[in-house]
Symmetry: C2
Subunit: 385 residues, 2 copies
C-alpha cells in the first residue's frame, strides 16, 4: 500500500444555514479544501452523508456535487454508515489512493438537517437504529443513550455532574472555534438545569441539529511532498468495525465493542498505543458517549471516564485533550460531515494552525467517528512529518 497524506482542509461555518441548500454548503467546503491543498485537479471524490433522501429528498449526491463543483465526469461515490459516514468517506479515499488507482481524492461529508421539521429530523436520525426492533417501538437516540448513561451511573458510580463536565469543557473549546455552531461557554449549573430530554440527559448533554459540510484532500505521499507547502499530515492507522445496531442485542450497554475493535485495528496498523496519542477528536453526540468512548479507546480505565471528565485531564493542556474543536456538542453535528470535521481539526492541530485552542506539541492525533448508538465506528490515527 502507498502512504497517504491529507494535504488540504475546508469547512464552512456550521449552524442553521437557511439561505444555503445542500449543494451550496458542500461546494463551499470543497472549494476551501481544494484551495488549501493548492491542487489544480482531483481524480475522485467520496461524500459521506447519512440520509439526504429523508432530509431534503435528494439522493445521488455524488454526481450532483461533482457537477456543482464544475467537475462533471469526476468519479464520485456517496458512502454511508449513519453518523460515521464522514469516517467511511475518509477511509474510502485513503484506500483509493493507497491502491494506486488515484493520486488525489477528496473525502467530504455533508448534511442539511434543518429543512426538516423537528419530528421529521428525529425520524430521519432514527433510521440509524434498528427499524424493526427499536424504531418501530418508539426508541430514539436520546432515549437509547439515556439508557447507556443510567447503566454507566449504576455500574460505575458516574455522576450527573460528570456528564455535565463534558459539555462545559467542549463548549469552552468550541468558544475558540470560529466554525462552531455554538461558539459560547456554558456553566455546570446551566447544563444541570437545562431542559430535560431523556432522563438523565438534558438538552445541553445533546449535540444539536446542524447544517454543514467538511472536506479534506488526500494524496499519496510522493504527490503530497511535491505539492504541500504546509506540514504534511500522514494517515498512519485506520480501524473500522461494526456492532449490532440494536442496543438490546449487545452483551453490555456501557461498552462499545465497535469502538474497542476499531481502536485495536487502528493502533495495530499505526504501531501506537493509547499513551502515544497527544489528543483525540471523539464522537460526543451525547455527553455519556464521550465518557464511554474515552474509556474504550484506552485513555481511561473502564468506568473511570466520568472521573476523567471531572478531573480536567481531557482539557486542552490536560493529559489527553479530547475534542479541542468543541466536539459535536459545541461545533455542531451535521451527521455525515462530522467525521471529516474531526479530521480537519486533527490536521489543524498537527499543523500548529489551531490558534487559541492549540494543543502544544501535538504530533499524533486520533479521530473517532461513530454511527448510531455505536453500531459502527471508524478511527483514524494521523501523524505530522
Amino acid at each position: 500500500m502507498r502512504e497517504v497524506a491529507i494535504i488540504g482542509v475546508g469547512m464552512n461555518k456550521w449552524g442553521e444555514l437557511w439561505n444555503d441548500s445542500l449543494r451550496d454548503i458542500y461546494v463551499d467546503a470543497a472549494i476551501e479544501a481544494i484551495k488549501d491543498a493548492g491542487v489544480d485537479h482531483v481524480d475522485g471524490m467520496y461524500i459521506g452523508s447519512m440520509t439526504p433522501g429523508l432530509f431534503v429528498g435528494q439522493e445521488h449526491i455524488g454526481s450532483l456535487m461533482a457537477d456543482y463543483l464544475g467537475m462533471k465526469g469526476l468519479p464520485c461515490t456517496r458512502v454511508e454508515s449513519a453518523c460515521a459516514s464522514g469516517g467511511v468517506a475518509l477511509k474510502s479515499a485513503f484506500l483509493e489512493v493507497a491502491s494506486g488507482h488515484s493520486d488525489i481524492v477528496i473525502a467530504g461529508g455533508v448534511e442539511k438537517m434543518t429543512d426538516c421539521s423537528g419530528d421529521d429530523a428525529t425520524y430521519a436520525l432514527a433510521t440509524a437504529a434498528d427499524q424493526e426492533y427499536e424504531v418501530f417501538h418508539g426508541a430514539t437516540f436520546p432515549g437509547l443513550y439515556a439508557m447507556m448513561a443510567r447503566r454507566h451511573m449504576h455500574d460505575y458510580g458516574t455522576t450527573r455532574e460528570q456528564l455535565a463536565h463534558v459539555a462545559v469543557k467542549n463548549h469552552k473549546n468550541g468558544a475558540k472555534n470560529p466554525k462552531a455552531q455554538y461558539p459560547f461557554e456554558v456553566t455546570l449549573e446551566e447544563v444541570m438545569t437545562s431542559v430535560m430530554v431523556a432522563d438523565p440527559l438534558r438538552i445541553l448533554d445533546c449535540s444539536p441539529i446542524t447544517d454543514g459540510a467538511a472536506c479534506v484532500v488526500v494524496a499519496d505521499l510522493a504527490t503530497a511532498r511535491k505539492i504541500c507547502k504546509k506540514p504534511i499530515v500522514k494517515i498512519t492507522g485506520i480501524g473500522h468495525a461494526t456492532d449490532s445496531i440494536a442496543l438490546h442485542s449487545r452483551e453490555s450497554i456501557t461498552r462499545l465493542d465497535a469502538v474497542t475493535t476499531a481502536a485495536e485495528r487502528a493502533y495495530k496498523m499505526a504501531g501506537k498505543k493509547p499513551t502515544d496519542i497527544h489528543f483525540a477528536e471523539v464522537h460526543d453526540c451525547f455527553t455519556i458517549a464521550e465518557i464511554i468512548v474515552a474509556e474504550d479507546l484506552g485513555f481511561f480505565k473502564k468506568g473511570e471516564g466520568g472521573k476523567g471528565a471531572e478531573s480536567g485531564e481531557t482539557h486542552i493542556g490536560g493529559r489527553i485533550p479530547i475534542n479541542p474543536s468543541g466536539g459535536l456538542k459545541s461545533k455542531g453535528h451535521p451527521v455525515g460531515a462530522t467525521g471529516i470535521a474531526q479530521a480537519i481539526e486533527t490536521v489543524n492541530q498537527l499543523r500548529g494552525d489551531a490558534g487559541a485552542r492549540q494543543v502544544k506539541g501535538a504530533k499524533v492525533g486520533m479521530t473517532q467517528n461513530m454511527g448510531g448508538s455505536g453500531g459502527s465506528c471508524v478511527i483514524h490515527i494521523m501523524e505530522v512529518i
Copy 2:
C-alpha cells in the same frame, strides 16, 4: 495495484418478496455467495443500496447486515450512486483488495421496494433526479427517459418497434433465467399495445419495481488461485464517471456522457476495445436506455442502436449479445442490487455456467450500471483465465 478476481456469486430469486424483509433477502444472497466462494471468513463488505431510508425506514445497513450475517465487527460500508449503487460497491471492494488492505471482500447490493406504496416508490426513485430543478416540477424517470426516446426518434429515425424489440429480446433471455422476476416471453404486439406510461414508453418498456439482493465475493488473485475451484474471473477494467443529474443541463439528451467517459476509462484500463467484448450486461431501465447505451459503449454507430436491436445482433448468438440475463426488464430492478446482479451474470457466462442462455465462447464480458437518467455510470470489464 494487486490483481483482483471474483470467486463467488449469489442472489435470491427476485420478485415481490412479501414474506421477507430487507435483512432477510440480503443475508440469503450473501450466504449463497460465501458458499459459492468456499471461504471461511471475509475481511470487509460494501453494500450498494439506493435509498433504504425512504423504502423501509432503515439506514446504517452496513452494520445491520454484518450483524445478521453473524459477522458482527466486520468493517462494512454502504455505498450509493442511485441505480448504480451496486456498481460502486463492486468498485469499492475491488479497490480495497487491490490496495492490499484486505484479501477477501464481499460486494453486495440490496433493495426492498415493494413495502412502499406505488406513489412512495416513485418519490423514492425520483430522489436520483435533481430535487430542485426536476423533481420539484414533477419530473419522474419514465418522463425523463420518454423525452430521451422522443429525441432519439426525431434525430435518428428510431422507431417504436425498435424500442419494443429490446423488451422482446430481454424477456426471451430472462425466460431462461430461474432468478428472474418475470421469466416469461412477450411478443412485439404485446409490448406495442401495453399500457402507456409516458409517451412513447409503455409499461413493457419499463423495468419493474423489485425486491432483491445480489452478492459477489472478490479476492486478490493469489488468494483466488488458492481457493477457487471454478474458473477464475478477473476484473481487468473499471470505468466510473458522473454527469449532470439534471437532464436539461446536458449538451445532448441522446448521448450519455457518463457512459462514454466510463467506457473510455474501462477500455483503457483493460487494454480492450468494443470489438473485444463478447457480451454485455447493460442498464436497460427503459428500452430506450439499452439502445443509447449500446451506441455509447461503441457496439453500434451513434443513432444505429435502434436498428441494432431490430437486427438480432444483440441476441444470444448475435454479434454482440446484450443482457443475456434478461436485463433489468425481465430479471427485475431492485435498484441497489442491479449492478451486482450484472456482475453475477457475467461471472456465470465466463465460467460457462449460464445454462440455456449461455453465450458460446464467452471469454471477455462487460457490465454497465447507471444511476438516474445517466448521472452516473460504472463499467467493469471481466475476463476468465
